[in-house]
């Protein structure tokens, strides 16, 4: 697997669960029938959540914001279990389980991009199956995708997914942020499309405030600055579960920087991002457990 930004800093442990957890899940998945394994995973979540106090607090804060009331213990458990099930899916796909992506009717921007085959910047969020979009887009569309990822203490799922899809997907690790932009520049120069997360300022810079979950919250706009700088289109997308073996991709229309000035392009970029955030909020209100936000909510404005 090609690695464009070799991290040297100590890796933070961000995902819930111990570093050995993935190997344990893989081993159990190989020997236990799902009828037994799934209740065991639920039990594991039940045991783990009280131990993950910081992440539980962030989950509660997010759920309280979106539900407009304090979440019940069961809802917090469901939030963690939804994330655990997504990690399990990643592990299974990494081990070769077939999985396909289908475009939702509203994914016109994504469809246009796939049809044209042009190089692009793909913005995504920690929502549902969004992490899988790059892996589905690469082999299905025969497109080279560079995915910006943060190496964490337990990145095994990401490592083996990258290994499984190495023909189409390469990672740009963000643990050395000072190298990130040069790695992206090289990826673009190599003709690749770059996928990056847009819901945490740790994944970008040029943060600005947008209306989300009832407040003005800070999101990184770096994807649009890169778009304007390199004259590349931007599509924002999320992948949502659509039944067994399937992820449905929802996307924004394409944002294209035009010949007008940077200020004008950024003005259009802000509107483009805000529009997608509003759609994303609607989707999260329909299924709050899909935003795997176990970190502090994006900072609010004054």
């Amino acid at each position: 697997m090609e690695r464009m930004g070799s991290p040297e800093n100590a890796a933070p442990v961000r995902n819930p669960g111990p570093a050995w957890g993935y190997r344990f899940l893989i081993a159990c998945d190989a020997i236990l029938p799902e009828l037994i394994f799934r209740p065991l995973r639920w039990l594991g979540t039940l045991v783990a959540v009280p131990l993950l106090s910081d992440r539980r607090r962030h989950s509660e804060a997010y759920l309280e914001t979106i539900l407009a009331r304090p979440p019940s213990t069961r809802e917090v458990l469901r939030h963690f279990f939804a994330f655990e099930e997504f990690l399990m899916l990643r592990l299974r796909i990494a081990r070769g389980r077939p999985h396909r992506g289908v475009l939702a009717p509203d994914a016109l921007g994504f469809h246009e991009l796939m049809f044209s085959g042009e190089q692009a910047l793909l913005g995504s969020f920690h929502v549902g199956h969004s992490d899988l979009i790059g892996f589905l887009v690469g082999p299905q569309e025969r497109r080279k995708v560079f995915m910006v990822r943060q190496r964490v203490g337990n990145s095994l799922d990401t490592e083996i997914l990258g290994s499984q899809f190495r023909q189409w997907v390469s990672y740009i690790w963000v643990n050395r942020p000072e190298n990130l932009l040069f790695a992206i520049k090289d990826a673009i120069a190599a003709g690749g499309s770059v996928a990056m997360k847009c819901d945490r300022t740790e994944f970008g810079s040029k943060a600005e405030e947008f209306l989300f979950l009832g407040a003005r919250r800070s999101f990184p706009l770096s994807i649009y600055h890169l778009s304007i700088l390199f004259r590349l289109p931007v599509v924002l997308a999320v992948g949502l579960p659509a039944g067994p073996g399937c992820t449905r991709v929802h996307s924004s229309p394409i944002f294209r920087p035009d010949g007008s000035g940077k200020a004008e392009n950024l003005g259009r970029a802000r509107a483009h991002f805000q529009e997608f955030l509003a759609r994303l909020e609607d989707q999260l209100r329909a299924d709050p457990f899909l935003w795997f936000n176990f970190a502090p909510l994006p900072a609010t404005g004054r």
């Binding site: 050395r176 942020p177 000072e178 190298n179 990130l180 932009l181 040069f182 520049k185 810079s205 040029k206 770096s222 600055h225 890169l226 700088l229 390199f230 940077k262 200020a263």
Partner: protein, 91 residues
């Protein structure tokens, strides 16, 4: 008499980054460009690097190199003089 390359670089910084509250003359030769000083961030630095590569036909290949080059206008001028085709330098 001011160094024509230094003057050109100051103008490029202001024009590329659309700095509104500052004129080229107000940038000191040894003022840090990144972080403190002009308070440029990593995206600004990348934008500047792309502009410089086009303008002077040079290649800045890593963040270490860019940090060294963008330490100040004086460092940048020295960096470009060492790498650019002399025909591309302002006289």
């Amino acid at each position: 008499m001011p160094d024509p390359l230094v003057s050109r670089l100051k103008s490029l910084v202001v024009a590329t980054l659309k700095l509104e509250d500052i004129t080229p003359d107000q940038i000191a030769d040894n003022e840090p460009l990144i972080g403190s000083g002009l308070n440029l961030d990593s995206i600004d630095a990348l934008e500047l690097v792309v502009t410089l590569e086009k303008e002077f036909g040079i290649k800045i290949g890593s963040s270490e190199e860019s940090r060294a080059a963008l330490a100040s206008i004086a460092h940048l001028a020295e960096f470009i003089r060492a790498r650019a085709d002399p025909a591309k330098l302002p006289r």
